[in-house]
């Protein structure tokens, strides 16, 4: 009998507590969890200058770092209430799935099939794929790469985009995939690959006196904030914030602050819309 009393008491307590919490907070559960923690956990790149870069043991800096701080200010009212974790192409997905990160802002290109795995915000930047070659090799354009090996990053969209371009032109390309950007640069220097190809903004960080960027550009790469599926509240908040900073010019300010080429937002939106439409088609087909 005593036990029954205890159980009903516990039930009543739980109910009133639960009710009072829902009554006070209007936040979605995903945002409420961040507020309860008092910190936003963000995965960023540590090796991409201008986007997410960390000097040895120093602070993270770059456009994506600034964006994360803006989001922390929006959610928690304090732009320093954000904890950065360096991610790579291989770790960013699993860290989202395990819940160790709230979001990943790490030059993550939005692609239709990726939208089936994770939720992405609307793009906050768009880049194109570029080609970095050694000056000594005498390569002047995409055509000279016919039959050569291109070094690309694992989990990058470069391979697909270049394969499509090569097929269109009737060229034949080989690919070698590497885990990090410095690995690709080393392979370019040692002559293992004829060309280092990733997003242009990333290539800018690897320019030195022995290499040069070819004039060619391929497929636009819109970057989005990635979230684990099912965080609708947080996704909407991020989307709203990105829309707001685009309207009030903050986004353009950040782009120029980090010396990045200006973004044509109308083009980004048109391209973005086609990606989400394509993802819906994919989802239906399965």
């Amino acid at each position: 009998m005593k036990k029954l009393w205890m159980i009903s008491l516990a039930l009543v307590l739980a109910l009133t507590l639960g009710l009072s919490v829902t009554a006070v907070a209007e936040d979605a559960p995903d945002i409420a969890a961040i507020k309860a923690r008092g910190k936003l956990l963000v995965g960023v790149k540590a090796d991409v200058p201008s986007f997410g870069y960390q000097e040895l043991g120093g602070e993270f800096e770059g456009l994506e770092i600034d964006l994360a701080k803006l989001l922390a200010a929006e959610i928690l009212g304090d732009e320093s209430a954000v904890e950065f974790t360096a991610v790579t192409a291989k770790t960013r997905g699993p860290l989202l799935d395990t819940g160790e990160l709230d979001m990943v802002i790490a030059t993550f290109t939005v692609k239709p099939d990726r939208l089936l795995q994770y939720d992405f915000s609307k793009p906050y930047y768009v880049d194109a794929i570029g080609l970095l070659v050694k000056k000594a090799d005498g390569i002047t354009g995409f055509a000279d790469l016919n039959g050569k090996t291109i070094g690309v990053a694992q989990s990058a969209t470069t391979k697909d985009a270049l394969t499509a371009a090569a097929e269109g032109a009737g060229y034949n390309l080989e690919f070698a995939e590497f885990p990090t950007y410095p690995d690709i640069k080393a392979a370019l220097d040692s002559g293992r690959v004829a060309c280092f190809s990733v997003d242009k903004a990333i290539l800018m960080g690897y320019l030195d006196e022995t290499v040069e960027l070819l004039p060619d550009s391929f497929a636009s790469q819109p970057y989005g904030v990635a979230l684990k599926k099912g965080n609708a509240g947080l996704l909407k908040l991020v989307d709203d914030k990105i829309a707001a900073i685009r309207t009030d010019g903050t986004a353009d300010g950040l782009v120029s602050k980090w010396n990045l080429p200006a973004v044509d937002w109308a083009e980004v939106d048109a391209y973005g819309a086609s990606i989400w439409a394509e993802a819906e088609e994919l989802a239906k087909a399965q």
Partner: protein, 223 residues
């Protein structure tokens, strides 16, 4: 069901299983050749260690210390990115075989040497008293007995070699681990990819280490 192990992710893996098979084949090929040269190096260096030439012994000890005490991944990186600067351009399969053989060979030499030392000295003396030369006694009398002692630990090294072949993924080696990294990166599907790759490694390594255990038991029984 969503998440890394959703049925859709498994389905995608099963559509592309042949890509993994191709990587698996290359892992087997690199491991097989690597093991062959490991045994050659192991026996050659092991014989030197038990021999009389002090200069050769010192040379072999230097080789073993260097390769046992530097990470394999750094050795592979040097073959891949530094040697081309000296005009030596090896393909990734060759790098895999050379690096695994030199690395595992350094351990195999120790095994061979201690297996030879485990054979009673009297065996060598008896063979030589019958008119066999040193080399003949080694090949016909001592080594066949040493094999029994050395085989179980050598089989463990074979398992290590197969697992270590996965470091080739860092230099675009095209073997199983590289295929897994590449595929899971492209699809953002890592759940089924890594589970199935783990199973594929298990398929080769488990029977090998079971063989080692069996051989060990048998040699204990004989002793």
């Amino acid at each position: 069901m969503n998440g890394p192990f959703s049925w859709r992710n498994w389905l995608t893996w099963f559509q592309d299983w042949q890509y993994f098979l191709q990587g698996f084949g290359r892992t087997l090929w690199i491991s097989f050749l690597g093991l062959f040269f490991t045994l050659l190096i192991g026996v050659a260096v092991g014989l030197v260690l038990c021999g009389k030439s002090r200069a050769l012994k010192r040379l072999c000890k230097a080789y073993m210390s260097f390769f046992q005490n530097t990470p394999l991944v750094i050795q592979v990186f040097i073959y891949y990115n530094m040697l081309p600067k000296l005009g030596i351009m090896m393909g990734t399969v060759t790098i895999g075989v050379v690096s695994l053989a030199l690395y595992t060979g350094a351990y195999a030499a120790d095994i061979v040497a201690s297996a030879i030392r485990a054979v009673p000295l009297g065996q060598m003396e008896a063979a030589q008293s019958q008119g066999f030369s040193y080399m003949q006694s080694m090949m016909r009398v001592v080594l066949p007995q040493a094999v029994k002692v050395g085989l179980p630990p050598m089989t463990n090294q074979a398992v290590n070699l197969i697992k270590n072949s996965s470091v080739m993924a860092v230099v675009a080696g095209g073997e199983l681990m590289y295929c897994t990294d590449s595929w899971s990166g492209n699809n953002l599907i890592y759940g089924p990819a890594f589970v199935m790759t783990g199973i594929l490694y298990l398929i080769i390594c488990l029977p090998t280490s079971m063989l080692a255990r069996h051989l060990e038991k048998r040699s204990l029984k004989d002793a």
